[in-house]
Amino acid sequence: AQSVTQPDIHITVSEGASLELRCNYSYGATPYLFWYVQSPGQGLQLLLKYFSGDTLVQGIKGFEAEFKRSQSSFNLRKPSVHWSDAAEYFCASLMNNNDMRFGAGTRLTVKP
C-alpha cells in the first residue's frame, strides 16, 4: 500500500544545533514529495517540494531536503535550528493528482 512514514514522533534539539527529520515513502513510481510545517493552532505551510531533477531541494526558512531513491527517503534538514522552528512537521507524497498521503508528523521541540 502507498504510504508515508515518519519514524520519529518527537525530536528535541538545542537552539543552534543541526536538525534532520526522517521521511520514508512507499510508492512504485517516483512520487511528488513535500514537507509541510504546522505551528500550533495553524494550518499547514509548505516548506519545500520535490518533483524531479536535482535531488537536493531548497525551501523556505533555511530548510533543505534530499531525495534518495535507493533509500525511498526524503529527509528534511536545517544546519542551525532557531527557537521559532518549534512546530509539527509533516512529510507528504502526492501519489496521483489528488491522492496526497501524509506521514503522522514529527513534533520538534527546541531547547534554549
Binding site: G41, G43, L46, L94, N97, N98, F102, A104, G105
Partner: protein, 114 residues
C-alpha cells in the same frame, strides 16, 4: 487575497446533530480538498473536488457529504455527528492541472462531538 478561509474555528456538537463546515477560497483554484487530522496522525483525505459540480471520495468519506456549486466554496456536511468525528478539519485548494502545484491550507476547524 484571503487565501483559504474556514468557518467556524471551533464547534461542539451533540451526538446525532448535523452541521456544515464552510470553506472558501479566492484564488480561483479548481481543486479543493477536505482533510481530517486526528491526534498523533497525519491528515487523511475525506473528499475532494476537481471543479464546480464534480466531487469524489477520498480515503475516509463515511459520515460526510460535500457539494461544489461554485468554484469558490466547498462545504462539508456532517449529517449525524458521532464521537468518532471529533477531529480538526482542514480545507485546502490547488490551482493548475499538474501535480506540481502545491495545496494551500485553511486554518482549520476544531470539532468536538460529545
Amino acid at each position: 487575497n484571503a487565501g483559504v478561509t474556514q468557518t467556524p474555528k471551533f464547534r461542539i456538537l451533540k451526538i446525532g446533530q448535523s452541521m456544515t463546515l464552510q470553506c472558501a477560497q479566492d484564488m480561483n483554484h479548481n481543486y479543493m480538498y477536505w482533510y481530517r487530522q486526528d491526534p498523533g496522525m497525519g491528515l487523511k483525505l475525506i473528499y475532494y473536488s476537481v471543479g464546480a459540480g464534480i466531487t469524489d471520495k477520498g480515503e475516509v468519506p463515511n459520515g460526510y457529504n460535500v457539494s461544489r456549486s461554485t468554484t469558490e466554496d466547498f462545504p462539508l456536511r456532517l449529517e449525524l455527528a458521532a464521537p468518532s468525528q471529533t477531529s480538526v478539519y482542514f480545507c485546502a485548494s490547488r490551482g493548475g492541472q499538474g501535480r506540481i502545484y502545491e495545496q494551500y491550507f485553511g486554518p482549520g476547524t476544531r470539532l468536538t462531538v460529545t
